[in-house]
């Protein structure tokens, strides 16, 4: 991916993240996730109805990579069922681990296709997806 385009997408999601702000409504499952490097700390809330992810929102303190990854994750997951969400999760993890993955399926998440080059930031990119891993079986 062109580095300028990549940066533009990342920065846009960092500065104007999708789903920012927790909701005080019923029907949400809240998951806290924080980085082992002890800095990033995000609360992510999922609303699931009839096996479909209806809404996701989040809040917390996190770096540009974690925040943008959360935003793009939310954008990619809303409206998906368990099987589709799991496919995205598996392919995203494969991309970060430098294993073969379905590029088309990941859409804007492809902006992290070179994050493996910075091992300390890989954790940041994975952070929001840890919450998905935790709730996927509840879908």
């Amino acid at each position: 991916m062109d580095p300028n385009l990549r940066r533009e997408i990342l920065l846009d999601h960092y500065q104007h993240p999708v789903g920012h702000g927790l909701k005080d409504e019923k029907g949400y499952i809240k998951i806290n996730t924080n980085n082992e490097s002890c800095i990033d700390n995000l609360d992510i809330m999922y609303k699931i109805k009839d096996g479909i992810i209806e809404d996701i929102c989040f809040d917390g303190e996190a770096c540009a990579i974690s925040t943008s990854a959360t935003s793009i994750m939310i954008q990619s997951l809303i409206g998906k069922n368990k099987e589709e969400a799991k496919k995205i999760l598996d392919n995203y993890e494969a991309m970060l681990d430098e294993r073969p993955f379905d590029q088309e399926l990941l859409g804007e998440l492809n902006v992290y296709d070179e994050i493996y080059k910075q091992p300390n930031r890989k954790k940041c990119a994975l952070l929001p997806f840890e919450s998905l891993r935790k709730i996927i079986d509840q879908l």
Partner: protein, 399 residues
Amino acid sequence: MNREDFEILNQEEKLIYFDNSATTLKPKQVVDSVVDYYTKYTANAHRGDYDNSLKVDMEYEGVRDKVQKLLHNRSRKEIVFTSGATASLNMIVFGFMKYQLKEGDEVLLTKAEHASNILPWVTLAKEIGIIIRYIPLENHLVTVENVEKMITPNTKVISIAHVTNVLGDERPITEIGELCSKNEIYFVVDGSQSVPHMTVDVEKQNIDFLAFSAHKMLGPTGVGVLYGKEELLERLEPTSLGGGMNASFDSEGEIEYKALPSRLEAGTPNIAGVIGLGSAIDYLLSIGFDRIHDHELELKKYAVEALEKIPNIILYNKELENGMIAFNIDGVFSQDTAVYLNHYHICVRAGNHCAKILKEDLQVKNTCRISFYLYNTKEEIDELIRVLKNSEDIFKVVL
């Protein structure tokens, strides 16, 4: 000063190391002493009757005298080698306090303490029902008045850092020590951030227990010191049992421990580490703590003056007299700032610095921390300032 002794600073790719509160660089003298042990006279300590073994004993035990000189305490028996300040603090809590305290006894801590001076206490509180109370901070600082106000007839321990690792504030240790001695309170001091930078006098300061690590004072990792007044260490139950600490034992379960300090050093010690600590102490004392401290203060003053002129830099501890600067770039997450500076080979720490409950007081969760030591220079600060002035392109660099 002394930059020629630090090989890591003299590589082709320049390195600006401003993370000295986390760990410090190692001078040639320290590295050589460790390598000498491994290449010229390897042997176990306290075991053999051959020349190398005797030399190891002499070197290893000689470091106890050096630590005694550093801390100004009464006896070499009061110096126990551990794996670091964390191990020392855990030994104090689980080897001593666990048997001396009872339900309802109060321990005073602060919210600015490092995890290693909070988690053992919290765990002991769950085990035996002691009560932890936090001394209120005044503008993030500990004052003698606030300590005094918190003391009740049930207060049995005050356990605080001499210098904190987030803001680098120095606590009024001597006055608190006096309060402790007057009220028969055990005074535990985490010296991790003070022993490397200033003169500590455990006698004058009425310190009952002191913990610190070698690696924050030019020494090797994996080694540290537990100091305790002799009459207290005599009552400290070994939390680790094995070779080297018992005088005899039998199949009936009768164990007789050795005398101090061996009683508290089970197993083969970190011999190379202790020898390295000895060289680090020699090195620091030959320069002198007054000179080191003055140098750090001068660097901070120089850096703060320049940082204040950069509009989007927020400083959190500029008025404190120490070699530490906590800051953020306005609107930028601390980790992104640290990654940005790393691009220019400038090493700073981002985060909450293991003081996870300080945020309740500081109102800011994460900061970038610069911490100076003797080998840092004004030229390095100039480079930092240049990079921070250009930080409008930060996301071009970090993303």
